[in-house]
Amino acid sequence: MPVCDLRQQLLDCKGHALVLGGPGSGKTTIALKKAVVRIGAGMAPGQSVLFLSFSKAAVARVGEATRLEVPKAQRGMLSMQTFHSFFWTLLSAHAYLLGAPKSLRILLPADEQAQYGTIKKKDRNVKNPEWDKWLVERERLFRQDGKIAFDLFAANAVDLLQRSIHVRRLVAQRYPLIIVDEAQDTDANAWRCIELLAPLVQIVCLADLEQQIFDYLPGIGPERIVTIKTSLTPLELDLGGQNHRSGVTDRHIGSIP
């Protein structure tokens, strides 16, 4: 399929970009094409394009698209990860610098629940002293026992990236282009990570305002798009609502990786 002018702009773009579009408008396809172009422009040994998504399902979906869009030889230079696995890579290598033990393990949600017990979902907020107590314990489990809950991933990744030039440099050196899928759904910490890396690497955000999973949370949704625009001053591309995709869309609700 020939590439329209709009899409060609993205392929040529050397700076940050924001691609808006509804389901099936071809955001993933054009982003993967962008990755192929970037890889074709030459990568240093050990480098790859990082494609960040929220869920394993989304990663799998992009993986399928990759088989169509990315030549086999270049697939090795495309690294598709969930935010969580990306954060885990950072944390397992470097979180000891934040005071945790050198050896880190994940505190699985089931084990978390075993600890905080019967607190109902609606009571899980800072006003509840019981929940507050658990939050303190959760922090202690990370810093002293080296067991880290998923909810602590993003905040600690921000802490590492913010405080160590080296950690920032290592990520940027490895991933000269980072594509953020469903960028409208990034929470404050995940977005902060992208912001910290933005001066060092090229960022392409894919966003769909009609499909928000987490927009009941503060800062997410239209507000995030505004932040992306002001913080990255990206090339903006609106693919509109056109649906090139055959069949039903295959949205998956973000689950724990």
């Binding site: 890579t89 397992s92 290598a93 470097h94 610098l97 160590s164």
Partner: protein
């Protein structure tokens, strides 16, 4: 990439050692102190092909050859001992950082240590850099009855608890570690075995494609029977006899002679580098060429590697001085200093040693419990880089590598004292000759230089001796000298010449002058044909010695003397030196258990003997 720290446990002569390096490193020290062990240890961790040898280590690679310790109780399984060698690499290039990202740690370049828990705010360049910690563990596998070795990332956050991730050969190759041992230098360089210089060059040039396949193919096609027609009937009759027992449906001949049953690996070992060194000579295998030529060839290959500009070269080379003239030694040293990322060199040669800065020169010594301790020459007090370079060839290196330094303030003493020592040694067989004890004379060129060199040698662990003129000194100055020397000898004369004329008989002095005149060696220095007054003779000798310091006349004067005729101030001083280095007890020819029980005396003086 550079090695910043090396830790060794249970390897060869080393029970434990921790050494830190700043870039290029010249390793000096007495024999058997562990210089080669350090290079071998680096090879075990960084060499891409080293641990794939079989066996990677053997019994004697374990400290005291102990690779098993018996169980505490009878019948209990013995416990294995692990050789453990850890290397901290810094100056990690981007490719290695990208590929080994999960294993990176952080290194504080000033404190020379890893960053610990909670130190994220320090993980900032340039004070802190990324580092990669690698370790090789070697152990005896009881069940398999063989020795095993494996290199791991010491930091392996992704591995199962208690385990570490392995370091692959292709990662090791990125470090560019090359090691040339003192023995077998030629074959390490010029064979086609894995990791030889030639192999490295072929790899860097990517010239190996098809090399082995094509060579094997051509050898297979070589028709041997063609040149040996008499073989044909023999093979035919063998085939006929074979056919009686085993039916074959192969058309034509079933037997054939091949050059050999070469495989790629055979070929690697068999292929040989030939060279012709003169017009009338047919090329000979490199093993037949002189050691010196070989070492020059090594230099040629090294500079070739440098031209190919690999991303990283860590080069370990033992004794580059063997069988090459001084100017080639300097060229090798210059290559190592300028064209490698980091060089580890062991050497006993002043021409090599003088090329390295004192900050790059590490003097090894044995510590307690089979440990190795290392001291930078620059940390050994007093000596500046220029002093070091200037004096390197004037005996400084010989002294450094010895056990004692006898420091004098001028050329006359530097010539005369060794002459006196030789006369004493010739007349008394109970004295251990100083050059065999490892005590060397050193000319500090002036009295004011003496404390500096004394402090330096003392800091390196040598016994220090001084011999200089009497002078009324402020106590602080005198204190400098007393502190710097184990035996501090200020003789009672204002000059060495005064000492000589005062303590030598007039007859001897005159004999010396007469000899000078008769031989014509006196040159323009006038000496009367007949002996003048005693006072006149003394004056003449003093002025002769003062006027021609470089001519070695004081030594000549001493050489004409018997032991009893030597100046007593000189012999008394030398006796103190001999007392510090007594002759080791002779071993009797018979197996005498009592004599065998006497500890060897060469290592050091009996307690208290040196300050008699």
């Amino acid at each position: 990439m550079k090695v910043s720290r090396l830790r060794i446990a249970n390897f060869r002569g080393v029970k434990s050692a921790e050494l830190k390096f700043d870039g290029h490193c010249l390793i000096v020290g007495p024999n058997n102190v562990g210089k080669s062990t350090i290079c071998e240890a680096l090879d075990l961790v960084l060499g891409p092909d080293r641990i794939s040898r079989f066996p990677p280590v053997e019994e004697f690679d374990f400290h005291n050859a102990v690779y098993l310790t018996p169980g505490a109780v009878e019948g209990e399984e013995p416990k294995t001992v692990t050789i453990h060698i850890e290397v901290v690499l810094t100056d990690i290039n981007a490719e290695v950082e990208n590929r080994c990202g999960q294993h990176l740690e952080f290194w504080n370049t000033v404190e020379k240590r890893l960053l610990n828990e909670g130190e994220v705010d320090q993980a900032i360049p340039p004070l802190v850099v990324t580092c990669l910690r690698l370790e090789t563990q070697a152990v005896y596998n009881l069940e398999e009855d063989e020795f095993e070795a494996q290199t791991y990332y010491s930091r392996s956050p992704g591995a199962e608890p208690g385990e570490l991730n392995k370091v692959n050969k292709d990662v090791k190759r990125m470090f560019g570690f090359l090691y040339l041992r003192a023995v077998r230098t030629g074959s390490r360089a010029l064979s086609l075995e894995r990791g030889s210089l030639l192999d490295v060059i072929l790899r860097l040039r990517e010239s190996r494609a098809g090399l082995w396949e094509k060579a094997i193919g051509r050898l297979r096609e070589l028709d041997i029977e063609k040149d040996a027609t008499n073989l044909h009937p023999v093979l035919k009759s063998i085939e006929a006899r074979l056919g009686k027992y085993i039916a074959s449906d192969v058309d034509g001949r079933t037997t054939k002679l091949h050059v050999s049953q070469l495989t790629r690996e055979h070929l690697r070992k068999t292929m040989s580098f030939f060279l012709a060194m003169s017009k009338d000579q047919t090329p000979v295998p490199f093993q037949q060429v002189g050691t010196g030529t070989l070492n020059v060839l090594v230099l040629a290959l090294l500079s070739f590697i440098a031209e190919l500009k690999p991303a990283s070269v860590i080069f370990a080379m033992e004794e580059p001085e063997i069988a090459v003239p001084p100017h080639t030694q300097r060229r090798i040293a210059d290559y190592l200093l300028h064209s490698t990322t980091q060089a580890f060199v062991t050497s006993h040669s002043p021409f090599v040693i003088e090329r390295f800065e004192p900050e790059q020169t590490l003097l090894l010594s044995r510590g307690p419990d089979s440990s190795i301790t290392a001291k930078k020459v620059s940390d050994a007090g007093g000596l500046k880089g220029n002093d070091f370079k200037r004096y390197a060839r004037r005996g400084l290196t010989e002294c450094m590598l010895g056990k004692g330094a006898i420091i004098v303030e001028g050329l006359t003493e530097f010539h005369a004292l060794p002459a006196a020592a030789r006369i004493m040694e010739e007349s008394d067989s109970t004295l251990q000759p100083l050059d065999i004890s490892g005590a060397a004379f050193f000319d500090a060129e002036s009295e004011s230089n003496m404390p500096k060199f004394g402090t330096f040698f003392k800091a390196l662990g040598l016994k220090t001796f001084s011999f200089y003129d009497f002078l009324v000194r402020p106590p602080a100055k005198k204190q400098l000298l007393t502190d710097a020397f184990d035996v501090d000898c200020e003789h009672p004369y204002a000059g060495f010449e005064d000492l000589v004329v005062s303590e030598t008989s007039v007859d001897k002095l005159w004999a010396f002058l007469d000899d000078l005149r008769v031989s014509g060696d006196n040159g323009s220095f006038a000496i009367p044909a007949t002996k003048p007054t005693d006072a006149e003779v003394k004056k003449l000798v003093a002025s002769a010695l003062k006027g021609s310091k470089g001519a070695g006349w004081a030594a000549r004067l001493f050489e004409g003397c018997g032991v009893a005729e030597l100046p007593v101030s000189v012999t008394d001083f030398l006796k103190k030196v001999y007392a510090v280095f007594p002759k080791p007890a002779e071993l009797s020819a018979e197996d005498d258990p009592v004599a065998a029980a006497v500890p060897p005396a060469a290592e050091g003086p009996p307690p208290g003997a040196e300050f008699a």
